[in-house]
Symmetry: C2
Subunit: 409 residues, 2 copies
């Protein structure tokens, strides 16, 4: 037998096949082609805010005088961790120990750490769909099976009732992830919903990962309740947090993982030591946020609420479009009067333009694990008001023209 | 049956038990206690260089005028990727496409991506021990079994012969990781050794992950050969790289993953999209390195070579200490005339001081998967010469006093 006969074909891991393409970015080549043709593209597909990162954070860069950009402690610098302690005290009235918070590379790393620590390969992750599409990526990395429960637009995408959770539970269930305020739906969960999920987790010995990176963005005078505020959940709650949206600083990649369970903390700390440090420059400028007062948040939230209103009023005025008013974050999932949102979103970029412009949408099917949501899209309202108005106008015209083309084509 | 009877006890994942404590950092509490007692601690345990990060990188921070710190592309900014293209061209004479490089959050993330993409949970990772301790962490995250082959100090920690690799191979073997120049041994592999490993991987259909984060740090006029330079390995080689040591910028957390295999690249890109972006500020300042010429590297390497010589001469003058002259990186593994390096390293911090000072060492057992290396330590020579001299003097005195204490105690 020669070597070439015994040589095994080189193949990537099975899980590598499961790493999903981003549903938010996969139409990007079509958008780039449209732009090359000279068409203006309004991006309703991506949650990159245009709000300025606060000057008190950016100005820190000018004050950086370290001559060696050294490793920071694996759990984060004391200054950054203390700034988070003050933030949780101010924002949630919670007194957290500095050893209950780990600085992470964005909320992303906090999700990955949570999954790795809470569940084994082959275990089930319970999640309410539609859900943040990248949960799929972290689940694939950790070898978890996503087990979805479907929330419905007609219910404002609020959580399914306890009986649905009970039906979904199996002995393989190990961890639940919720996102509140929700990306992609904009739903903000009520206290009774959160307590129902917490009770469910407690009764079945499950971990509850609560992704709260949109915590500030709640409209109409309401506020989001953190899983850290729920009574009797200290043992099984892990909160995923991030500065990305709070301070419009997505690019610095800084977040945190918060838990009062000492064993979870220690396991996450060992993971954190494995990757040495969270980003140092990010932690350095993050401390600048200490200078911000509540007025900063109020003004940003007011700006997003105005945009939400423009988007909601515009969309609901289009015949056949359905959505409930988003309560938080800066997304909504809308049902459109079209056959297939993926085809429509591609068509918008390849075949449509009006006055030299078009719209880019994220088809919602990428946010579901079940084969539903075919005629739904996720819309991010991170554009300024006049651009949002133009984008909604374009969408109205496009829906009509698309359906005419389908009827005749 | 009541709920409390059917409630499953809350337990972390099995793999969470496997996330190792850092052997470099686990004696830190003892070092802190020593410092509180007023003892000066010379850190020979950790590879945090004291060399300044180049001003042309740090000065970029003052030029940063973006008002929104946005997500960067998932694979990295074009400017950073181009700066790496130029670096590989200049340093290795290699022409790499911009779509063969992915910006990563330190070399750490590149290792994790490699493991996830190349092997499934339960597959074997072949590694030559002693090895960089955090490979254990990434292997645990990816569910890989570490299968060690032992390299020996008497051979200068060069690679075992092919027959050892053949004996170690099983059908579960999927991926090999090498570190060249080596952390912790300081060994620089010869071309024939690298070709042997590449042939072994090719013959058995294995991926070869080559961790080259110490590429520049080679002494006595030699240079490190990159796995990217080996002929006929394009399909199965992944190079892990980092700016941390090259520019003494450990804290910015920026590295890269390089592969000419399109399928590997695409799978890693999907992972990169899952975590959105690498750190943005780090990429912004990394471009400043374009202004550095070969003289920068020459002067830094000369500085480390002087330190290596001070350390080597000092250590070999201590009776009973054995090491071969380190060829690269800024570590060595030395055998000490003591019973147990872990006990000795703790004793140095709890029971020893001389003229108000002591030394912190990393016991080498944390760098082995096999139960060997009991009387070995890893020493980092990142201190300036006079401090290194003092540290080696202290070590000489300490070894004598420790053995006297053992003999009488």
């Amino acid at each position: 037998m020669t070597l070439s006969e015994i040589r095994r074909p080189l193949a990537l891991s099975d899980r590598a096949q499961e790493f999903p393409e981003s549903p938010i970015r996969k139409l990007t080549p079509l958008a780039e082609a449209a732009k090359r043709r000279g068409t203006k593209v309004y991006h309703l597909n991506i949650g990159q805010p245009d709000i300025e990162t606060p000057a008190c954070m950016r100005d820190r860069l000018k004050q950086m005088d370290a001559r060696v950009l050294e490793y920071s402690p694996s759990a984060g610098t004391p200054e950054y961790l203390q700034s988070l302690q003050h933030y949780y005290e101010r924002q949630l009235g919670l007194s957290l120990g500095i050893d209950q918070i780990i600085a992470t590379t964005g909320g992303s790393e906090a999700i990955l750490f949570s999954f790795l620590v809470c569940a084994n390969t082959g275990d089930d992750l319970l999640v309410v769909e539609p859900f943040y599409a990248n949960y799929r990526s972290f689940a694939a990395m950790a070898g978890l099976n996503i087990v979805p429960m479907t929330s419905r637009g007609r219910d404002g995408f609020h959580l399914p009732e306890r009986q649905v959770w009970e039906r979904t539970f199996t002995p393989r269930s190990r961890v639940v992830i919720i996102c509140n305020p929700n990306n992609p739906t904009g739903t903000v969960y009520r206290r009774d919903e959160l307590e129902m999920v917490a009770d469910f987790c407690r009764d079945h010995g499950l971990f509850l990962v609560s992704d709260e990176v949109y915590r500030e963005f709640v409209y109409d005078g309401n506020r989001a309740i953190s899983a850290l505020e729920l009574q009797g959940c200290e043992d099984f709650v892990i909160v995923v947090d991030s500065l990305s949206k709070r301070y419009s600083a997505c690019g610095i990649r800084l977040g945190s993982l918060v838990t009062r369970n000492r064993t979870i903390y220690n396991a996450c700390l060992r993971l954190a030591q494995g990757r040495l440090s969270p980003p140092g420059l990010a932690q350095f400028i993050a401390v600048g946020a200490n200078e911000l007062d509540q007025e900063y948040t109020r003004s940003v939230v007011a700006e997003y609420q105005r945009r939400r209103d423009v988007l909601y009023d515009g969309l609901t005025a289009i015949p056949g479009v359905f959505l409930q008013k988003p309560e938080g974050a800066f997304y909504c999932v809308a049902r459109l009067p079209i056959d297939d949102a993926e085809r429509f979103a591609a068509w918008l970029l390849t075949d449509f333009e009006h006055d030299g412009a078009t719209v880019m949408l994220a088809p919602a099917n990428g946010f579901y694990a079940s084969p539903v949501g075919t005629n739904e899209v996720r819309i991010a309202y991170v554009l300024k008001e006049e651009d949002l108005r133009s984008a909604v106008d374009l969408l109205r015209i496009a829906i009509q023209r698309y359906n005419e083309a389908c009827a005749t084509g």
